[in-house]
Amino acid sequence: MPQSQRDVRNRITAVKNIEKITRAMAMVAAARLNRAEQRIHALRPYASAIRRMTRQAAETAGAVPSVPILQEHAEVGTVALLFVAGDRGLAGAFNSNIVRAGIAAGREHEDAGRRVVYFASGRRVASSLTFRRIALADSFTGFTDRPSYADARRIAERLMAIYLDGEVDQVEVFYNGFVSVISQFVRRETLLPLQRATVIEAGPLEEPASGARPQRVVPEYEPDAAAVLRRLVLDYVEISIYRALLESTASEHGARMTAMRHASDNAGELIQDLTLQMNRARQAEITKEIMEVVAGAEGLG
């Protein structure tokens, strides 16, 4: 049965409104993505300065001291998994990819006889884990639009504390790595125990920024090189988490932008189809009226 013209017209209005909203969301996401990318760039000079300092301190101290977070626990009985995603949805598979990958990893660990503790960053992940009746040890929410270093430090401190206090023997983190607007993929990293290699031989050293020339003179250390080094090592964990949060935020905005563009395109197509349907309904009505007139005329004649 053809729909009445009014029904179709109402649907067109509704779809047009949705299209307006999705287009606006795509634009907002694009602007935020821009900012999120800038923040990833802003971290670089700090991270490479920390790396330079670590190398320098390590040379003076002779060797990396035995920092507890560098030490593997003899037996891995409990694993903590941190899922990093967003506070909000409407971003395609952004959140569900993390949940899926993380839960699969959790099963692997459980099958291998390890206990798994879950942590979530982002309201969406937290709620979908709760929905699946997976108990969360803790969740960190309310900042995924614009994570600050203090947020990262809070998460890092919590995870380091449970590692050092022996509550867990390994910490893994899952997040959407940001490659480009259209390319994001789930990254799985082992955060703790921290790998010695990440601290000392973390890739080619970037050229020092202007002014921060490498030092030839052995500086004086306060308190001493080993103590400075011990603190620097902790910063690697914080920076790793901060980078994961930043990349996740950029990925979230990228994913939302793409999802909202598709939604707007779909709405456009739907509007075309519905317009066609409305024209057909109108034509049917006109044809019907003509038939009635003709039939009436014939009846009279």
């Binding site: 802003a42 300092m53 921060a212 003179v217 004086e220 250390y221």
Partner: protein
């Protein structure tokens, strides 16, 4: 008397905080309060939360609330890496008091000699110092 100036860079993970020439830097290391003038001996120190003061001249002072970090001095150049640096006007006493309360609760809950307790104590000290800067 005007002192000689030297370049200072302050970086945080969220970007560059300060980059310019100053006469003196005043901050606090793990060992104690320190003032850096031009041509200071090479130094690498860990910083504690405090008020960071950058003296562009004797009277023109740029102030920040500085969290933990590192100070590197060498080649007549100072580099400060700080986890957080806020202009004093941006500090929110109400929010800091709330954070302080959370940290104190954590200390209550955490057992003796745990890393959790140390973290909470570090947090408490930081928020206390920041809070004192709002007054």
């Amino acid at each position: 008397m005007a002192h000689a100036k030297f370049p200072v860079e302050v970086l945080s993970p969220e970007g560059e905080v300060f980059n310019g020439e100053v006469e003196m830097v005043s901050t606090r290391t793990t060992v104690g309060v320190i003032g850096i003038l031009a041509r200071h001996a090479p130094l690498l120190a860990t910083l504690e939360p405090t008020e960071l003061r950058l003296y562009k001249t004797e009277t023109e002072v740029v102030r920040f609330a500085q969290a933990e970090g590192y100070l590197q001095v060498g080649d007549n150049h100072a580099l400060l890496l700080v986890e957080e640096a806020h202009p004093l006007a941006d500090l929110d006493a109400h929010e800091l008091r709330e954070r302080l309360r959370v940290a104190e609760e954590e200390i209550e809950q955490a057992g003796e000699d745990t890393e959790r307790r140390q973290v909470a104590e570090r947090d408490k000290r930081r928020w206390e110092r920041f809070l004192s800067l709002t007054e």
